[in-house]
């Protein structure tokens, strides 16, 4: 240890590829698991959420229009950059979640590995989830998975990096763009992930990270007419039903939360990809 005074980081939002403060000017105090001050995080407002949806919608065409191979490489690049920030992630997870150093390392390792796992899915989904349909007539008929669109994600409140990656990466692998409300008490790894995203090849607007309160932002996103789906995994206790009702107003695809936060170390399968995929079926006559 030297006695150099550290340069602290200002933790801001990540919206449309930039790092703005909240338009509301609000921040809130983030502490470690023992209550010591860590940072003043930006407290996103409904207008920040609105801007994030606009950014996500704007990025959807480019992101979903990329070849699956290209999208896979871009996502893999994120994991590469995450690996370079390993120490920083460990420190943030350790402080925020109150984990031992080895457990924090294990969580960060798992998070990076999970990102890699999802990066490899992009160009398999079409084959695994699509196919040709042997209709009873002279038609070629095939079904392919396509991304739903703009997905709002209420990230897990407990698992600040592994949990976040576990809900965000599948949304992106499917070709959606995301507006994420991070863990309220443990937002710092999410902001660092934003810095990773900004310095990898993910186009601005594909991922938008809002630090703040899902209680406050959730209803705006659930009701937002230009949001196509919502993952309620990190919904505040007792609020999920209400958010699902609000989401029903525009027939959003909804992932309900489980009673307690899932064990993120288990194999997720496709269960977090398919809710935000549509199936498109195309018919064409077969003739000469």
């Amino acid at each position: 240890m030297n006695d150099r005074l550290a340069v602290r980081k200002t933790y801001k939002l990540y919206v449309n590829g930039a790092f703005p403060r909240s338009e509301s000017g609000r921040t809130y105090e983030v502490t470690d698991s023992r209550g010591h001050f860590l940072a003043n995080a930006a407290r996103a407002s409904r207008k920040d959420a609105r801007d994030a949806v606009v950014a996500a919608r704007g990025a959807f065409g480019k992101w979903s229009g990329m070849t699956a191979y290209n999208r896979g490489q871009v996502l893999y690049r994120v994991a590469e950059v995450m690996e370079g920030r390993h120490t920083q992630f460990c420190a943030e997870v350790e402080a925020g979640e109150g984990l031992s150093g080895s457990k924090a390392r294990a969580a960060v390792d798992a998070a990076i590995d999970r990102w890699v796992w999802y990066a490899g899915w992009t160009d398999k989904l079409g084959a695994v989830l699509g196919g040709s349909n042997p209709v009873a007539g002279p038609y070629f008929d095939f079904s392919i998975p396509e991304p739903t669109g703009v997905v709002a994600v209420l990230a897990p409140q407990q698992s600040s990096l592994l949990g976040l990656v576990s809900v965000l990466a599948p949304v992106l692998a499917a070709g959606n763009t995301a507006v994420v409300v991070t863990s309220k008490q443990r937002p710092l790894p999410a902001v660092t992930l934003g810095e990773v995203l900004a310095t990898s090849d993910v186009p601005g607007g594909v991922v938008n990270l809002l630090t703040g309160d899902a209680e406050e932002l959730g209803p705006w996103l659930a009701e937002h007419a230009d949001v196509d789906g919502i993952d309620l995994t990190g919904a505040p206790a007792g609020r999920a039903m209400e958010l699902e009702r609000e989401a029903a107003g525009t027939v959003k695809r909804v992932v309900r939360p489980s009673a307690t936060e899932p064990d993120w170390s288990t194999d997720p399968g496709l269960s977090r990809i398919t809710p935000f995929l549509e199936t498109k079926t195309v018919w064409h006559p077969i003739g000469v």
């Binding site: 695994v128 989830l129 196919g131 349909n133 042997p134 209709v135 009873a136 007539g137 038609y139 008929d141 079904s143 739903t148 669109g149 196509d228 999920a240 039903m241 209400e242 699902e244 009702r245 989401a247 029903a248 107003g249 525009t250 027939v251 695809r253 909804v254 309900r256 399968g269 496709l270 269960s271 398919t274 809710p275 549509e278 199936t279 498109k280 079926t281 195309v282 018919w283 064409h284 006559p285």
Partner: protein, 482 residues
């Protein structure tokens, strides 16, 4: 001009159906009296009352769900999958054997032409059972994960436009995956579902596996909101679909919704024009336009607009509107007075907002609910008839100049159920199909359906798929696809 070749009436015989003066509910393998107030169902082509049908009360629904739960726990759930499949094969065969009876009954109760009930609805319904029968003992191979398991009791609410076909779309996959069913047919078209109950009896299907509770919105609500239902499947309007999504929010119930649409049918200047015109006609006038995936917005490239409209009008002039039981009828009756009023209201709006209404000269019967095939030209995207689902034989014509404009206009809708593309250029088909936000894209064809082919919408047209491997997932748990 009037043709010297006037087709004489060719009515399908009604004697094949035997409609009882009243019907109860089908619960636990038997017909029982409902405790709600009975309602009448009419032939929309004549306004003749066909019969009286019980309305299921909440208590009746409760009995039906209890029967379905018992059957799930004791018979259907534990049954060998191969045997479940055999029951479904039996049902498919029984439907084929009694196809003509079902077709006539469907046309009487719904108003659709016998040609369509005979050649489309009923054969496809049988095909759905036949297809899903084969899945019953092959779910492990569906690529849906290592241990697919049924959800339990499925509550299903279906619409009046394809009563028997929608029943098949709901019941066949539910049973094939090991679930039991409480189904509520539409208020105005309950009869084929009740005849299907007889099929279940003839097939010796164990009691409680299929329960049919007739009634209106309250009965449907009781099914959807019942606490012991594990799965809700609904086909109908977007408005009701939203209320159902609200009702199941926060529960364990899995939900699939197949809702409304406002499909764009895009015709490029290099299209096979005669087939495109057929496709436009088939797209909007099939089943009187009572089709959620109807091609109700014709997007025609501006440089062929006049030619296409002239061909279309000439072709529409040959459509035969009238007695649904006449084998030569192309367009039958509007299903209900209520629906007719809505079609009239939206059409009047269309005119008031400045679009041009065109209808062929056609004699409509004096009694019954009728609306002539209608084309609106000079429609702007801001008109209500360009945005709202009319659910009737009303086509709105818009134009475009470039492929980008066609796609932008096609996608400019809160719906996303289906779309059509007409062009002889293969690469253009694939590009446009890729860009359209719709669950079913028909290229150089329209309104084709098959049990192997997943059907369902994007956006506010709903979620979940019916048909094919994808359709199984809505009735299973433990699968990697949700």
């Amino acid at each position: 001009m009037s043709s010297p070749f006037q087709y004489a009436p060719a009515p399908e015989s009604r004697s094949i159906v035997d409609i009882a003066p009243s019907y109860g509910l089908f619960i636990d393998g038997e017909f029982v009296d409902g405790t709600g107030e009975a309602f009448k169902t009419v032939n929309p082509a004549t306004e003749e009352v066909l019969t009286e049908v019980s309305a299921g009360s909440a208590a009746d629904v409760d009995r039906a769900v209890a029967a379905a739960r018992r059957a799930f726990t004791r018979t259907w759930g534990p049954m060998r999958p191969a045997d479940r499949g055999k029951y479904l094969f039996r049902i498919a065969r029984l439907l084929q054997e009694r196809a003509r009876e079902f077709a006539v009954l469907e046309s009487l109760d719904n108003g659709k032409p016998i040609r369509e009930s005979r050649d489309v609805d009923i054969p496809l319904a049988a095909a759905h059972f036949f297809y899903h029968a084969g899945w019953a003992d092959k779910l492990d191979f569906a690529g849906l994960g290592p241990n697919p398991r049924p959800l339990g009791v499925a509550g299903q609410v279906i619409p009046w436009n394809f009563p028997m076909l929608m029943l098949a779309w709901k019941v066949a996959p539910a049973l094939a995956t090991g679930n039991t069913v409480v189904l509520k047919p539409a208020e105005t078209t309950p009869l084929t579902a009740l005849l299907f109950a007889e099929i279940c009896q003839q097939a010796d299907l164990p009691p409680g596996v299929v329960n049919i509770v007739t009634g209106a919105g309250d009965t449907g609500r009781a099914v959807v909101e019942h606490g012991d239902v594990d799965k809700v499947a609904f086909t109908g309007s977007t408005e009701v679909g939203k209320s159902i999504a609200r009702a199941v929010a926060g529960t364990r119930k899995s939900l699939t919704l197949e809702l409304g649409g406002k499909a764009a049918n895009i015709v490029f200047d290099d299209a096979p024009i005669d087939q495109a015109v057929e496709g436009i006609v088939q797209g909007i006038f099939f089943n009187q336009g009572h089709v959620c995936c109807a091609g109700s917005r014709l997007l025609v490239q501006e440089n062929i607009h006049d030619e296409v409209i002239a061909s279309l009008q000439r072709r529409i002039g040959t459509l035969r509107v009238g007695d649904p039981l006449d084998k030569n009828t192309d367009i039958g009756a509007i299903n209900s007075a209520e629906q007719l009023a809505r079609i009239r209201e939206l059409s009047d709006y269309g005119e008031a907002e400045g679009a041009n209404r065109w209808q062929p000269a056609c004699d409509l019967p004096d009694r019954g609910y009728w609306f002539p095939p209608t084309v609106f030209t000079d429609v702007s995207p801001a008109h209500r008839i360009a945005r709202e689902e009319v659910f009737g034989p009303v086509l709105s014509v818009l134009t475009f100049r470039t492929p980008d404009e066609a796609v932008a206009k096609a996608n400019n809708s809160t719906y996303g159920l289906s779309a059509g593309i007409w062009t002889e250029k293969g690469s253009r088909i694939l590009k446009i199909a890729d860009q359209l936000r719709a669950g079913v894209v028909w290229a150089n064809t329209f309104n084709k359906f098959d049990p192997t082919s997943p059907f369902g919408g994007y956006k506010q047209s709903g979620y979940g798929r019916e048909g094919g491997r994808h359709g199984l997932t809505g009735y299973l748990k433990g699968v990697t696809h949700s």
